[in-house]
């Protein structure tokens, strides 16, 4: 049974279409990430599901029930905000108990459930603190607990980690993932951070300009990006424009306008077709000497190299194209230096121009 379903959801602000005929189904018990650059419509979509925004067109279902025009308080959702949005005049206990009190839950049960959920987010004993007495990470855990204590049908998270520092953010990614698995709750997670999306998600929905660009597991999205935008947004990619020259029995030959030739898997290519090669940094192999047996071996020139601690971020020039790669540290690279590189043909990603 699909837990959340969007059917042609559209929201316009004046002339700008924030969300454009979005169709999306979130499966029961999965965590789905809405990923995209700022202004891609991901937050607007989430707020439509929460009921804070009523879409101009389309329908939204939670389970079998249509909720498109239902006010947020009747939707049985949990929402976690980027800025935590804890009520500053209430203690942690009061923050968590508020929703339960509105449902006329017996006092003893409220106490029990608040205690349970606080231990779940590792904040036991913090009941009497006020939000301002907690650190950012603790506040965000309280916000998560406040959403979870009501055992909602769907948990909606709007960039919940953006206000935390880098280290805490990384820890919390795993924590949220763990919690979601443990509780088996259906969750929709909004972020612009591709690393976060890759770590957290069962599936990722990549949005751009209000439209769904690609939907798939993190592996699918990373390994088989649907187009240039996805290839550039998730993970690093260098792009090379080329034209298909010949299509052979098992491979195709591509050539750029400045004469660089590549061998690539032929899957569905036609002669004369324009394609874009997306090359991941980890797919650039450095050779110590030129090779006769390998395909796609080129001599490239070092443009810039930056030391990153565990690796060296290096920009190479191949013809008129720039290639980005990461090398193990310990190697001294100076601009102008020539390197032999190998681009394994089976690892080349071809996307639509």
């Amino acid at each position: 049974m699909p837990e959340v379903k969007l059917d042609g959801v559209t929201k316009r602000y004046g002339k700008v279409t924030a969300v454009d005929h979005l169709n999306l189904t979130v499966r029961d018990g999965e965590i789905l990430t809405l990923l995209g650059p700022s202004g891609c419509g991901k937050t607007t979509t989430l707020r439509c599901i929460a009921g804070f925004i009523i879409p101009d067109e389309g329908r939204i279902f939670l389970g079998k029930e249509e909720v498109t025009r239902l006010p947020p308080e009747k939707r049985d959702i949990g929402f976690v905000f980027q800025n935590y949005a804890l009520w500053p005049h209430m203690t942690v206990f009061q923050n968590l108990a508020f929703g339960l009190q509105l449902r006329h839950t017996p006092r003893e049960e409220i106490r029990q459930r608040v205690r349970e959920v606080l231990s779940l987010v590792r904040l036991s004993g913090m009941e009497d603190r006020y939000p301002r007495q907690l650190s950012g990470g603790q506040q965000q855990r309280v916000a998560l607990a406040r959403a979870l204590v009501l055992r909602p049908r769907v948990l909606l998270l709007d960039e919940p980690l953006s206000n935390l520092d880098a280290k805490l953010r990384e820890e919390m990614r795993f924590e949220i993932r763990e919690l979601q698995r443990q509780l088996g709750i259906t969750a929709i997670y909004v972020t612009h951070d591709q690393a976060e999306a890759l770590v957290l998600s069962d599936r990722i929905a990549v949005l751009n300009e209000g439209r769904l660009v690609q939907l798939g597991s993190p592996e699918e999205i990373y390994q088989r990006p649907a187009n240039k935008f996805v290839a550039g947004f998730i993970g690093l990619s260098s792009f090379i424009k080329a034209r298909v020259v010949t299509v052979g029995a098992d491979a195709a030959i591509l050539e750029t306008e400045d004469g660089v030739r590549f061998k690539a898997p032929k899957n569905g290519l036609a002669k004369g077709q324009e394609v874009v090669l997306a090359i991941r940094p980890e797919h650039v192999e450095i050779l110590s000497a030129p090779s006769e047996v390998l395909d796609n071996v080129f001599q490239a020139e070092v443009m810039r190299a930056a030391y990153l601690g565990n690796s060296i971020d290096c920009r190479l020039r191949l013809g008129k194209w720039e290639l980005r790669t990461q090398l193990p540290p310990g190697r001294v690279l100076s601009p102008g230096e020539k390197l032999w590189i190998h681009l394994p043909s089976e690892k080349l990603i071809l996307v639509k121009a």
């Binding site: 947020p72 308080e73 804890l86 005049h89 508020f98 509105l102």
Partner: protein, 275 residues
């Protein structure tokens, strides 16, 4: 050691200055209010007594003392101020909420409209209003004066209330909605407690403005409605003693309000505004 003493000295001087700035003008009022005879060039009154206070509070009637009982005017003032404050806030709270949260058409114009009575000299406006008030039978009546006070005070009510609601992040409301609170419940349980400091400030402003309002009361209220400021203005200049008594009486409500604010404003509530 030297720097420590310098600091203590500096702090002491500052304290004296603050003390002087706050209590200097008031102490002069207090001295005037108990001065029976005080002629130039004496620094302090030659004769002091509570005659003006007694007369003003209606405890004695002496034709030699130029003061009348202030109780009637005081009662009228409080009645007018409390009523107009209540009515202004009843209008200002929903209006402020709406202006802060919803996309109200012509919002800037509406806020400007509230500002209008303050943007022009008061006298022409009130003079213009007098015929209308007379036609409606409101001139020289307490309801008429209350109406004019509402006109003068609404600006403070609406502007401060609007910014009080604006200062509360929208997400706090949305969070309440997401856990199941209706718009109405959210307003009472989340918005109002968090806006309380701002609303209280707004109420104090409106109350004090109404309590000390003169021009409108003068044009619309006289000769039948006399408030404390009317008594004060009519006696100031030639009768400093009686004027000082009234001035001190006028100070009392604002001092009470200060104490109330201290008592009511819990730091948790302030948390919503200072963040």
């Amino acid at each position: 050691m030297g720097t420590k003493w310098q600091r203590v000295l500096l702090e002491g001087l500052l304290l004296c200055l603050v003390f002087f700035l706050v209590f200097g003008p008031i102490s002069s009022l207090v001295i005037w209010s108990i001065a029976i005879r005080w002629y130039w060039p004496h620094v302090l009154p030659q004769e002091i007594g509570l005659a003006y206070w007694k007369q003003a509070l209606g405890l004695q009637r002496d034709w030699a003392i130029a003061a009348v009982s202030i109780w009637d005017a005081f009662g009228t003032s409080i009645l007018v101020a409390v009523t107009s404050t209540a009515l202004v806030m009843v209008m200002a709270i929903p209006a402020g909420y709406a202006l802060a949260r919803f996309r109200v058409p012509l919002k800037a114009l509406i806020l400007l409209l509230f500002l209008m009575p303050k943007a022009f000299p008061q006298q022409p406006i009130f003079v213009n209003l007098l015929p209308a008030f007379t036609r409606w039978g409101l001139a020289g009546t307490v309801p008429g004066v209350i109406l004019i006070h509402i006109l003068v005070c609404l600006i403070f009510g609406v502007w401060i209330t609007t910014s009080a609601f604006k200062a509360i992040p929208q997400e706090l409301e949305e969070a309440a909605r997401s856990v199941g609170a209706t718009r109405w419940c959210t307003f009472w349980k989340v918005l109002l407690p968090l806006a309380a400091p701002g609303l209280l400030v707004s109420t104090v402003f409106v109350f004090i403005t109404s309590l000390t309002e003169f021009t409108g009361t003068f044009f619309i209220g006289l000769p039948f409605v006399t408030t404390l400021p009317m008594l004060l203005y009519s006696s100031s200049g030639y009768n400093m003693q009686f004027a000082s008594v009234i001035a001190i009486v006028l100070l009392i409500p604002s001092l009470l309000f200060m104490v109330l604010i201290q008592k009511v404003l819990r730091p948790e509530y302030m948390g919503g505004i200072i963040r």
